[in-house]
Symmetry: C2
């Protein structure tokens, strides 16, 4: 009974997600949904990514948080459009859903944009269940979190196309086996494309940026 | 409407939580509910805590995960009773609730126990909403996660009596302002008791252990 209700909720969500995606496609905009545990470095990743790409691409951000506008404020220095969603105002949801994105689009002039980043609420569980109309789901996992996360939170790693292993500058002081993490990732999702990088040192960042550029180019041509 | 349903669910949960707590109290058992983001170091904290206390206290563990028994296996070397709850089998819930704890108690001989640790599902949002019958809720936050977490996930820090700041051995290589974290913690919950420790180096561990000993002693006498 409970499962039936949940399926209905998810089916309704998927319809709105399809509408969002249709609008993005009609405007040839690439949308990337960044998800992770709290504190894995999503905002810092976004900050450095926007800094590197804002000269060549028109970028906007949809910021999801239960409350506060701290992340949006951190990103505001880039002078790109940012819409904040605070789920506390609508029940405190621990994830973004398609209707919230649809509402956010009313506050965003999407014509002329190339790329929208959605920073989801920090949570490795529930955001994985909700399509929002994005083209790419990316999970961020820092090397401080432990190698077992793909096995313990498999849905997140299964629904994502991309995984970013962040904070690699800390590897030298941690007992962290990055190969073990990669094996577990492949085990739950053999197709996952994996990036290792440090937003602090810049190591590995070029491959990440090139991948985004290529996704945007493909959408423009498609 | 949606909120009404949620309140009913939570009211039903609270009734079962009260039953659990009544059973713990009748047996003079202290129950500590450990919550955090994935990867903040709950299992390592538990591992070192059990190692230090198992000679003097009768301890059991209820391990909550969506799936896998990896954490339970890590703790099994201590030869204390462990019951694993895998929420994947019952809908994939991102938190433990009182009924799950009640079920777990069928598999646990609680007579003679002094202390039960519950390791909740890794999630800084939803576990805060569900009473399970514990006496102490403790949030673990590692110094790799960012100082802003109490402001962004205030409910978790409001419901907890204790907060453990973990992985302090990494402070020297991070740009982390532990005083800022403490200010934010006090801001959302002035009564929060805060421990700073490193399970790896052992720094700060004695104060944490003494606090647990004192809680167990008070329950035995009360």
């Amino acid at each position: 009974m409970e499962i039936k209700v949940l399926q209905k909720v998810l089916a309704a969500n998927d319809r709105v997600a399809d509408e969002n995606r249709g609008m993005f496609d009609a405007n040839k905009i690439t949308v990337i949904n960044l998800m992770s545990s709290p504190g894995s470095g999503k905002t810092t990743l976004l900050d450095k990514t926007i800094e590197a790409l804002k000269g060549e691409l028109k970028i906007a951000v949809i910021e999801g948080d239960i409350q506060t506008t701290m992340d949006a404020e951190r990103l505001s220095r880039h002078d790109v459009p940012i819409v904040q969603i605070n789920t506390a105002a609508i029940g405190g949801d621990c994830h973004l859903d398609a209707a919230m994105i649809s509402s956010a689009l009313h506050d965003l002039k999407i014509e002329g944009l190339d790329l929208i980043f959605v920073e989801n609420v920090g949570n490795l569980v529930c955001p994985a269940e909700f399509e929002i109309g994005e083209h790419f789901k990316a999970v961020v996992i820092s090397v401080t979190e432990g190698e077992d996360k793909p096995l313990k939170y498999p849905l997140m790693f299964q629904v994502c196309k991309w995984a970013v292993i962040s904070k690699t500058d800390l590897l030298s002081v941690l007992d962290f086996d990055i190969e073990k993490l990669r094996v577990y990732m492949k085990q739950v999702n053999p197709k996952l494309e994996v990036f290792e990088l440090s937003a602090r040192s810049g190591a590995g960042f070029d491959a990440w940026l090139d991948h985004i550029r290529e996704a945007v180019r493909a959408k423009k041509q498609g």
